[in-house]
Amino acid sequence: MAKEKVSLFAEFVKGLWKENPVLVMLLGLCPTLAVTNSAINGLSMGLAVIFTLVCSSTLISLVRKIIPKEVRIPTFIIVIATFVTVTDLTLAAFFPDISKSLGPFVPLIVVNCIVLGRQEAFASKNPVHRAIIDALGMSIGFTLTLIVLGSIRELLGSGTIFSFQIMPASFQPWMVMGLPPGAFLTLGLMIGIANWVKAKKQ
């Protein structure tokens, strides 16, 4: 298929901002809202997604020529699910506290549109090195977004970021930030601001 020689650097950077999976492409919203009640949870989920996406993209890209088109979706799903289970088990064994905070959202990475989306749109159609870079870019973009969202919610919701007390002791936390409404509102504002910044840049 026709493709301009996009530089590897550009491949990487696009996931961070221009095609940020959450703020621009509106993918992977479920875990974004669910685990960003604190910065550390956002970071942990991000790392789990980075691992899953990079591994899946690598493997899928490596075997892309052997997978018949008709069965590609089930194959992608099996591969992704395997890596997600590996992540889940690893967390449960070596980082049990994180495993408990992230709860059932680690298995839900399987249906995270970002992961499946990248396999379909990119990894299955590109050589390995590009696939890895794309995966890294997208998942790091995702992670950064989660950290920002998580930090905002944690800061306003409990006065801390990464459990470091930032707000003065007299600050009355906005409980709503740790709860679902706060998540929706903050994300909505972030996407709105992202739209505004993008428009400004043009």
């Binding site: 018949p68 008709e70 069965v71 194959t75 590996v86 690893t90 064994a93 409980m175």
Partner: protein
């Protein structure tokens, strides 16, 4: 290669590889996960049974108990798991109680996934600046004799009462219900170690027959352990409790004396007495069990205790026939043996009366509710 075949092969290969990788990972991580969970349990037991040095795991009547011991090996607490449904998730609580099962020492929530910010307050409440763990702390040293109750929107005022969390009534109620049900079941399991079966492992059925002899009219026997003391409950054909038996032992003049005491359910009257073991001075002290010098009644000494009223204690008299309630005649020439028997009986009956009757009272109180 034929297209369909390729599809099948690719899918099957993927599935097998996936299964293989996951099986390997599972093998590798599951011992670690299991070790972590048992460590968590160990720490939790230390939290709910303060002051213990070690604990034993024991399954009694299909229930897993953790018996906490102090440095002398004495039992100072019993822990067990209580679980049930909360508002939206399974709640698992480790309960630490005193060995009499009358008081909760501490609680620890092992697992819950209630509504964040509301139901989760049962585990920690960030809106309470002075005490995040106020809900659980209410259960510290809580007397649970007649069951735990809860009140809403005001401070608890009675024994066994706690305050529910505003806006999380169901979660709070669930915790209380889980505790009440499980404490009840665990108490019954713990105290009824070999209920319905009075055969002592080392005496192989001997005890049962002896019990029927010291509790006249009994046809069945249940064993109950209260406060580490074994009570044998003798029931008649209808299932009514007609007597309680227990072992009384202590030092005689020359040997350890072991007796089986059959007493009425109110602990007011000895029904029968039987000596299980003694090695007192032959022909003198041994008369407590068998006095061959008394032609009409060799077992006269023991027979004195038949239906003897003991609620004000047993007394003895020398060289005279007994004239008062609760009085018996000591054996001439074997005063000390006789005296010691009376002492052993008095102290054991008094102790066991308290233990047994307080348990009966607590059961009666709960049923009255």
């Amino acid at each position: 290669m034929n297209k369909s075949a390729k599809m099948v092969i690719v899918l099957t290969a993927t599935a097998i590889l996936s299964g293989g990788v996951l099986a390997y990972f599972d093998l590798f991580t599951s011992p670690i996960i299991a070790a972590y969970q048992s460590n968590e349990l160990k720490n939790a037991i230390g939290v709910v049974l303060p002051g213990i040095i070690s604990y034993d795991e024991k399954v009694i009547n299909d229930t897993q108990f953790y018996l906490g011991k102090n440095k002398d090996g004495g039992l100072i607490g019993v822990a067990f798991l209580a679980e049930g449904n909360g508002f939206q998730s399974k709640i698992k609580i480790l309960v630490g109680m005193n060995p009499e099962f009358t008081k909760i020492q501490r609680l620890k929530i092992l697992q819950q996934a209630e509504t964040p910010g509301l139901g989760t307050k049962i585990e920690n409440d960030l809106t309470n600046k002075s005490d995040k763990f106020w809900f659980l702390n209410q259960f510290k040293d809580l007397k649970v004799g007649t069951g735990i109750t809860y009140v809403k929107n005001k401070k608890p005022s009675q024994e066994g009462e706690i305050q529910a969390i505003t806006g999380a009534t169901i979660s709070s109620k669930s915790v209380v219900n889980i505790l009440n049900d499980t404490i009840d079941k665990s108490r019954k399991a713990f105290f009824a170690e070999f209920s319905g079966n009075c055969v002592n492992k080392d005496q192989k059925g001997e005890i049962k027959n002896e019990i029927y002899k010291v509790i006249p009219g009994s046809v069945s026997c249940d064993k109950e352990i209260i406060n580490d003391t074994k009570f044998y409950l003798g029931k008649n054909k209808k299932g009514d409790l007609v007597g309680v038996a227990f072992i009384a032992e202590g030092y005689g003049f020359e040997s350890k004396i072991k007796m089986l005491v059959g007493i009425d359910p109110e602990f007011k009257k000895i029904l029968r007495l039987k000596i299980l073991q003694q090695a007192e001075t032959p022909e003198i002290g041994t008369k407590i069990e068998d006095d061959s010098t008394n032609i009409s009644d060799r077992f006269w000494f023991m027979n004195q205790f038949k239906n003897l009223e003991v609620d004000s204690g047993i007394t003895y008299i020398l060289n005279k026939k007994p004239s008062k309630a609760g009085e018996i005649q000591a054996i001439t020439g074997a005063t000390i043996s006789s005296e010691l028997i009376v002492d052993i009986l008095n102290s054991t009956i008094k102790t066991n009366r308290e233990i047994f009757l307080s348990k009966v009272k607590s059961i009666r109180n709960r049923e009255v509710k």
